[in-house]
Amino acid sequence: MSRINKNVILALLTLTSSAFLLFQLYYYKHYLSAKNGAGLSKSKGSRIGFDGTQWRTVKKFIMLTSSQNVPVFLIDPLILELINKNFEQVKNASHGSASECKFFCVPRDFTAFALQYHLWKNEEGWFRIAENMGFQCLKIESKDPRLDGIDSLSGTEIPLHYICTLASHAVHLVVFHERSGNYLWHGHLRLKGHIDRKFVPFRKLQFGRYPGAFDRPELQQITIDGLEVLIPKDPMHFLEEIPHSRFIECRYKEARAFFQQYLDDNTVEAMAFRKSAKELLQLAAKTLKKLGVRFWLSSGTCLGWYRQCGIIPYSKDVDLGIFIQDYKSDIISAFQDAGLPLKHKFGKVEDSLELSFQGKDDVKLDIFFFYEETDHMWNGGTQAKTGKKFKYLFPKFTLCWTEFVDMKVRVPCETIEYIEANYGVLEERSSHSWSVYEFVLEPKLCNCLIQPDPA
């Protein structure tokens, strides 16, 4: 008898556990499909029509923003990509001709919109109305970086991101703020303590992982999938900007500490130099932009940005870096046309090229070309006096946007490593170490003399 019981119990146990296991498998699959919805539900894509939740959520969101005069525009990379591919078709499509839902029904987790904050007139009531419409919204605020550069100001926080969910689809509204240098900036999506971390899968947001900088896009109105939306006039350009949009702020606090220690040089000459250096940099940036050549602040100019968020008055020149693969043969003539005659040319395109242009008021513009090896980058430098050539090695770096003297320019994201490779180790915490570089702006010479310049 007891044996039979045992067996029955065993059988029951097996049954329950398999049922449980099945349930778990089912749940796990569900969980997986929710996680990478795009991957698993692709097969269903064709079936989702105008009644799909994504389309409806977007429609409701557009209704909300147009009724509240919130001037949003679409920046979702996935959809912009699709629009860009079918651009002609989209432009020609008339109002009601959408027969199938091609864009807003593509499976995805988020739909990203953007907003230029200064064009937004009635911020206050918007949130409540969104919630009344059934959206669940999250607002991410932060302090205003535009006030960081100024001593001791603290203001009202500014909104950086809104995330609104409705029926399992989320709209990510990125708030763009105008910055000096004619560009738009968006902030880092930081979750503060009280925010529900499971509100949406934040990891998969397309924007907000870092602060970003974009050219101010011109907008155009289009009708896709029966919805009227604004998109950047040049979706291609906007899409290209996204992967390189990371922005880093100047370290204003440290710069202030620096100036507390080494008072700013406000002599007439220093101010005059700063002014002409700024003009030279603006001219160079304009010229290179026209050519479509990427550049970044290098050497002394980069150090000035990093250390004091400004131009070092005794540096006497403006230094830029350019990757050799971005080199264009008409750089020299373009600068000449812009009123900057070539002063020196060292090296060749194949090897340690350096160009030096003569700006106004005896300010020089030095352009160093960077060569990439497997594990480092390098550029060549030539001592004008002796003709000796040196090779400066840098650890690999990527480029970030930043703001410098009212301009949007690039700097190496790994700035400290870059500068240290250039000038030697800066002991960051003790500001005393700056004194070493206070009056000496000679890059450290590495002992890797290449060959004397034949010239």
Partner: protein, 660 residues
Amino acid sequence: MDDWKPSPLIKPFGARKKRSWYLTWKYKLTNQRALRRFCQTGAVLFLLVTVIVNIKLILDTRRAISEANEDPEPEKDYDEALGRLESPRRRGSGPRRVLDVEVYSSRSKVYVAVDGTTVLEDEAREQGRGIHVIVLNQATGHVMAKRVFDTYSPHEDEAMVLFLNMVAPGRVLICTVKDEGSFHLKDTAKALLRSLGSQAGPALGWRDTWAFVGRKGGPVLGEKHSKSPALSSWGDPVLLKTDVPLSSAEEAECHWADTELNRRRHRFCSKVEGYGSVCSCKDPTPIEFSPDPLPDNKVFNVPVAVIAGNRPNYLYRMLRSLLSAQGVSPQMITVFIDGYYEEPMDVVALFGLRGIQHTPISIKNARVSQHYKASLTATFNLFPEAKFAVVLEEDLDIAVDFFSFLSQSIHLLEEDDSLYCISAWNDQGYEHTAEDPALLYRVETMPGLGWVLRKSLYKEELEPKWPTPEKLWDWDMWMRMPEQRRGRECIIPDISRSYHFGIVGLNMNGYFHEAYFKKHKFNTVPGVQLRNVDSLKKEAYEVEVHRLLSEAEVLDHSKNPCEDSFLPDTEGHTYVAFIRMEKDDDFTTWTQLAKCLHIWDLDVRGNHRGLWRLFRKRNHFLVVGVPASPYSMKKPPSITPIFLEPPPKEEGAPGAAEQT
């Protein structure tokens, strides 16, 4: 199918089928140990798989969460600063809701403590004289307002009456006198104190001490008073200790309709006191104004910087007038508060505007100057596309057509390099000297008090050499210096578009205000169309001035220019007078003339190449300085320029007081 054969293991169908099934099973299960083992292992395996799947699930969820958490590290920077005045702790936690209030009044020190927390303490010498008033929230005990009225000086009692009348009924009022509070305490104020139930207040005498606690419109909760025994001595210090019962929060609050605006109003009114009808339960005054938009508004996108200190009542009045002006765009307004003051911030929040606080640097005038610099820099940072900024101060009323005036004239700043600013203020525009709302002037002085700054001027010239904190300079004096102004001029209206109402301030007091600001003319007519704006450009203005001088009637120079009869009793005529002015900086006669005309005479204002333009008795009145002015050639040879002797130097003029 025919080939089908039953398996030999299975018994043929029959009556014994059921039993055999069971038996087979039983047999197998009981006897085949191997199978049993197998089943057991199977079960264990099942369980193991379940456990593994479970663990994986848990791990996955964990990772997903931690991914979401990864970058948002806790931010120390954002730690909320300590809140404002903490609510005084209740005695005990039980139902006995009573505040224990101590009030001290004496010659050199006053203090007020609520439940042991000092909310007012003033023992500084040479300041804080008069009646200190504190308002507490009757439900929470929060300090809602703290004021001092120097009722030893004139007109302060009027301010006190105004303030006390604005306090909502039911609030707890605390008054205490420091030094002297009765000299200019007039009957109206005394009557008001009597209506509050005070015994000693209405009878307050010279150098008496007095402490009072009462509920507005309700019972007196305590009062102490000590008479001064003699003119040369003070009353004995008094210390009043009393219990104030708290009422329920329900009673202390109004029930406005639940709108976004009222939510702002509610936040404001439960925190601060002394703003009158904005917090009235019945029919509160609006906090949103929808002035008519301006057609073709050229200044809609021009940022407006309001420079403020800790004068929240002024700020309140100023913002009301600003937000009521036609063509205002509230999202362009930023209020810059010099210091971490809460109440001005509350006022800013009430109107839903952007407010920025500024940690004070340096002292006095240099502090104001540093505040100006930070505010202007911030304004152009916040609005990088702006080419101009409007600069206002917290003690100005803004005319209804302020933005209309700017919209019609701002193109001048763009087109004419010889301009320094556009200002809404005419230094010489008093009730009796300004007449024409459509008329503009060019002047060599920078009036300030509501003006437009060009970004290029600020960024390229002013900002880099702005006086540093250790230089104790006034920003406006600095801006007026020739090194900065470089011969450029400002556009001003004949009738000012701003009105300076501030009586207390760094360079301001009641007497000064009454003498120089009170009688200033202020435009109240909406939508004034300015006349011939382009004639204000450099060359065109010379043509205009020459035309004016040519048609002007020369006054009788034998008469005393200070006499009213100097100008005939006509209307709409243009008259000219010539005064002596030896060099470009010789203003001896002008200063005397300005003095007797009761206009601004503390320094020279409103001149354009030795020419002053104003109105007298509804006639345009031109004054030309001869021979320094290039317009001297218009003087008929027979006329001798008027010379007025400065009085012998005895009375020290109020000095280089100025207007900020």
